[in-house]
């Protein structure tokens, strides 16, 4: 990257300026990127978007006070004003003795994470995404004549570079690539419309699912929902397909946010090292996962990423921390400072996934006499403070081990601690969508609200 040196120098200049203005510590988070995407409709291009973008965020500590500014204006005079603004703003915040940038001990050496950059993506023919989108649309329509429209079908790629530099001696950067495809078809039987979506995003082009498969899967998921109805309110076994299980995993990970736990604003407060689920359940955040979408050598404040088992064989193993929260909680940062140039670090996940079990999804469904297989959900519906979970759900009703008929307009609800205990089957079909992955999981029983 010939540009790397130029921007590292720019970052150093900004840090120097902030220090001259009175900051004891200063840190730059800089992002550069270019992206391109398209959407199609009825066999033609609907739109094409191309862009380059950049931005810089500056975090300063002055007399234990925290200041932050960001800008996308890289003009040298503007940058000086921007650095001054960050320092001046710090005086409006309260001093906190734990404020401070990651120390050299926190920073250590960036992790070896292998390749994040696919030269194939950075040199793709611009029309690949048009061809791929048209193919998704064609394949979707071919599934069934009841596929009448698409809410959206599109594809694109992105090349992004991150540079972090701080007055504590850290300078690091990495560049990564991404390519994505998605399809959201709409099925109609004349009385009801049903939509579904399927997508894939990868750092490496060869790992993307085929356009044909994405279009087909999305259409199959939409068509099978036609004729969906409510069911009676009841308690019954509930199975989440891998996409919905991944969404549940994200919710559980947000309860493991070290800051929420420290403030006793999480239902996980006081539960560390306790058994909270069956031994078959392991929830991992792995910033080192080879070729993972969320993989990086260091997090948003330069701390090396690592593998953290949030739940290890059913035991609550670790919370997730950035440096500031780790200091408050008297523990070590876990490399989970999520970031954009427009924000201060906040705790987030890297590659989050539920480890797969040994059982096939078919077998997990077959064991259910009367239950609900959930394939889509609506609403946030999870309260991290109280542990209440209640979301709108669509999917298929299971009768005698078979997916029998489509269901909509119901909710599934439970208490998340109880739900974790009630997971009685974990599938072998780990599926990543983006940086979150999960296999099929089954809850012994949840409350379904309908008629």
């Amino acid at each position: 990257m010939p540009t790397r040196t130029k921007y590292e120098q720019l970052a150093k200049n900004v840090i120097q300026r902030a220090r001259r203005r009175g900051a004891q510590q200063a840190e730059v988070y800089l992002e550069l990127g270019r992206q391109s995407s398209c959407r199609v409709r009825d066999g033609e291009i609907q739109d094409l978007t191309e862009a380059t973008s950049k931005g810089i965020g500056l975090r300063v500590v002055c007399d234990q006070r925290l200041g932050f500014a960001f800008t996308s204006d890289f003009d040298p005079t503007s940058l000086n004003r921007f650095a001054d603004r960050a320092v001046d703003l710090a005086s409006a915040a309260a001093p906190h003795r734990l404020n401070g940038l990651p120390t050299s001990e926190d920073l250590g050496t960036p992790s070896d994470v292998g390749e994040l950059y696919d030269p194939r993506i950075s040199s793709l023919q611009p029309d690949w995404k048009i061809k791929a989108s048209l193919e998704m649309e064609r394949a979707g329509k071919a599934v069934d004549p009841r596929i009448v429209a698409f809410d959206s079908v599109g594809a694109g790629e992105q090349v992004a570079e991150v540079i972090v530099a701080s007055s504590e001696g850290f300078v690091g950067g990495y560049a990564g690539t991404y390519a994505f495809m998605y399809a959201a078809p709409v099925a109609s039987d004349g009385t009801q419309l049903q939509t579904a979506e399927w997508s894939d995003e990868k750092r490496f082009f060869d790992e993307l699912e085929s356009a044909e498969a994405i279009g087909r899967k999305a259409a199959e998921r939409a068509v099978r929902m036609l004729g969906a109805k409510k069911v009676k309110s009841q308690r019954a076994p509930v199975i989440l397909d891998p996409t919905m299980a991944a969404s549940f995993a994200s919710t559980i990970a947000s309860a493991a946010n070290g800051d929420a736990v420290f403030k006793k604003s999480s239902f996980f407060a006081g539960k560390l090292a306790k058994r909270i689920a069956a031994a078959s359940l392991t929830l991992v955040d792995d910033g080192l996962r080879r070729r993972g979408l969320g993989t990086s050598p260091f997090d948003g404040e330069g701390v090396p990423t690592r593998r953290t088992a949030v739940i290890e064989k059913g035991v609550l193993g670790s919370f997730l921390y950035d440096c500031f929260t780790a200091r408050k909680a008297k523990t070590r940062a876990t490399g989970n400072a999520a970031r954009s140039y427009r924000s201060l670090p906040a705790i987030g996940t890297n590659n989050l996934y539920l480890e797969p079990g040994r059982r096939s999804p078919e077998e997990i469904i077959r064991e259910v006499k009367n239950g609900f297989y959930v394939t889509a959900m609506l609403g946030v519906g999870a309260n991290i403070v109280t542990g209440e979970y209640s979301r709108g759900a669509n999917g298929l009703w299971i009768e005698n081990g078979e997916l029998a008929r489509p269901v909509q307009e119901v909710t599934v609800a439970g208490s998340m601690l109880q739900m974790l205990e009630d997971i009685d089957a974990v599938g072998s079909d780990l599926t990543f969508r983006g940086a979150t992955g999960a296999p099929t999981i089954r809850f012994r029983e949840l409350t379904i609200a309908g008629e």
Binding site: R41, E44, I45, Q46, D47, L48, T49, E50, A51, T52, S53, K54, G55, L66, F68, A69, F70, S72, S78, L89, A90, A92, A93, A94, A149, F150, D151, V186, Q192, L193, T195, M225, S233, K263, K264, S265, R342, L344, A376, L378, G379, V380, G381, N383, V385, T386, E388, Y389, S390, R391, N394, Q408, E409, V410, T411, A413, T447, I448, A449, E451
Partner: protein
């Protein structure tokens, strides 16, 4: 489509006289004209240049301390070229000439018919003025913003010793936009927006924890917080948390529900609003497509989207395509009367734009969006509505919501709810979620209160990943046979 945030507490709406205040554009008008010309160079039918400059400030407080003060500057340009129904879009945060022309030429590539470069001339069109902010929020001293969160924190802790955690944030933005297009329009706007929000966690002796959330703001002057005080906001957030300590589990199943006025308007936003946006209608992916003139709700239901509400969070003097904000009746006494159009969908459908073309920033193409969406008041006394219910659920405060446009399924979360027994509000209930199909829920509206109420100004709506500020509003409402998600069967 998701909407987040909280609800009520503002008073009478009042129209301000129309006028506009010209400013010096971030890019000279002559440059915009040249870029329009470049975007048309391959034979497009239409081109548009959107320029934006936004300054933001935020302060946050947690664990009794002002954690940080932040500021940001974002500026950039988005160029759109349209050829038939196809759109080429390019954006750049680099405002050097070379980058600007590259963006314009990239957008031009959507048209392939060749064609010669023609000069383009634009002239300033006046914008109406639905919000007047005396001093741009970006010019208000940070110390005054810090003072709001400090006062909110103090008031929340003083409310009750069971209040254990208080998180207060104040955020504002002063956004300037300039839009010019090949129809000769050049329009501009200054869009100030602010909000104060307080989240409280209370803990009872037995370890039961509940949270409360409240806040508000809008396109208002900073002096707004002289009357909408941080003490008021904090007390309401704390009240919610304390009131729901010891709540019982919600019953699952069909019930009669009564919605408190204000932020409950999110029901309308999700249940029907999104489904009336013209892009979904044109693509026939909304269940409201082809239903114009048909009965889609009970006689008591009149739904309006109004971008002209004075100082409201969702209002726009001009939308992000330069068209003036408008008031549109979408459903009148149960009959579907109109949709919300941006200029592209309006053109393709032979309609007129309704001031509904909005975008999150220069990084995004505009699309049809809601502004302030509310239900017109009815004839029923709010107290009488509650007394009319033998057994049901009173929904006082709400979390976020979401809708599936195609099957019409929507959910929204009830963060503060009570049992109604024989017309009286009784025990607090936890973990309730409402779910329904938009038109069915609107047909089951049996009573509409006389008490219209806008939400306090916290709503942010997401569509295709683009977030825009919106307002919602609803009078007290009774809906029969609504499915309540809960854990008790």
């Amino acid at each position: 489509m998701k909407t987040r945030s909280a609800r009520p507490g503002r008073t009478a709406l009042q129209r301000l006289p129309a006028m506009s205040r010209p400013s010096t554009p971030l890019l000279p008008v002559g440059m915009m004209e040249k870029l329009l010309s470049a975007a048309m160079s391959r034979g497009a039918d239409f081109a548009e240049v959107y320029v934006e400059q936004a300054t933001s400030t935020a302060v946050s407080l947690e664990e009794q301390k002002v954690k940080s003060a932040q500021t940001g500057l974002t500026q950039g340009i988005g160029v759109r070229a349209i050829s038939g129904g196809k759109v080429g879009y390019a954006y750049s945060d680099d405002l050097e000439d070379e980058a600007l022309f590259r963006a314009a030429q990239t957008s031009a590539l959507i048209a392939r018919s060749g064609g010669a470069t023609q000069p383009v001339k634009v002239s300033r069109s006046p914008s109406p003025m639905f919000y007047r902010v005396e001093t741009p929020l970006s010019d208000v001293q940070v110390s005054r913003k810090v003072d709001l969160v400090v006062r909110a924190n103090r008031a929340a802790h003083r409310f009750d010793p069971r209040v254990k955690q208080v998180m207060a944030t104040y955020a504002d933005q002063t956004k300037r936009i300039w839009v010019s297009n090949t129809e000769g329009r050049f329009a501009e706007d200054v869009q100030d927006l602010c909000r104060l929000a307080v989240r409280v966690v209370a803990e009872a002796k037995n370890g039961d924890r509940r949270s409360g959330f409240y806040g508000g703001g809008g396109r208002v002057s900073f002096s707004y917080f002289d009357t909408f005080t941080p003490e008021q906001v904090a007390a309401e957030a704390a009240r919610q948390a304390i009131a729901t300590l010891g709540a019982v589990d919600a019953h699952a199943g069909a019930q009669t529900v009564v919605l408190a006025p204000g932020w409950s308007g999110i029901l309308l936003h999700e249940a029907v609003g999104h489904g009336l946006e013209a892009d979904f209608i044109r693509k026939k992916t909304s269940l409201f497509a082809g239903k114009l003139g048909q009965k889609v709700a009970s006689d008591k239901v009149t739904v309006i989207d109004d971008g002209t509400v004075a100082n409201s969070r969702g209002s726009v003097n001009i939308d992000d395509e330069g068209n003036p904000g408008q008031r549109k009746i979408l459903i009148e006494r149960g009959v579907l009367t109109g949709f919300m159009y941006d200029s592209l969908n309006a053109k393709l459908m032979g309609e007129r734009p309704t001031g509904s073309g909005r975008r999150e920033s220069f990084r995004h193409m505009p699309m049809p969006r809601m502004t302030n969406t509310y239900l017109a008041p009815g004839d029923d006394d709010p107290g009488e509505i509650i007394r009319s219910v033998k057994s049901g659920l009173y929904c006082a405060q709400f979390g976020g919501g979401q809708v599936d446009i195609s099957n019409g399924n929507f959910v929204f979360e009830v963060s503060e709810a009570y049992e109604i027994v024989n017309g009286k509000i009784e025990r607090p209930v936890k973990g309730a979620t409402l779910i329904g199909v938009g038109p069915e829920a609107l047909k089951n509206v049996s009573m509409v209160g006389t008490d219209p109420m806008p939400d306090p100004g916290l709503g942010t709506c997401g569509k295709d990943g683009q977030m825009v500020p919106v307002g919602v509003g609803l009078p007290t409402l009774r809906i029969d046979n609504m499915t309540v998600g809960g854990t008790r069967v």
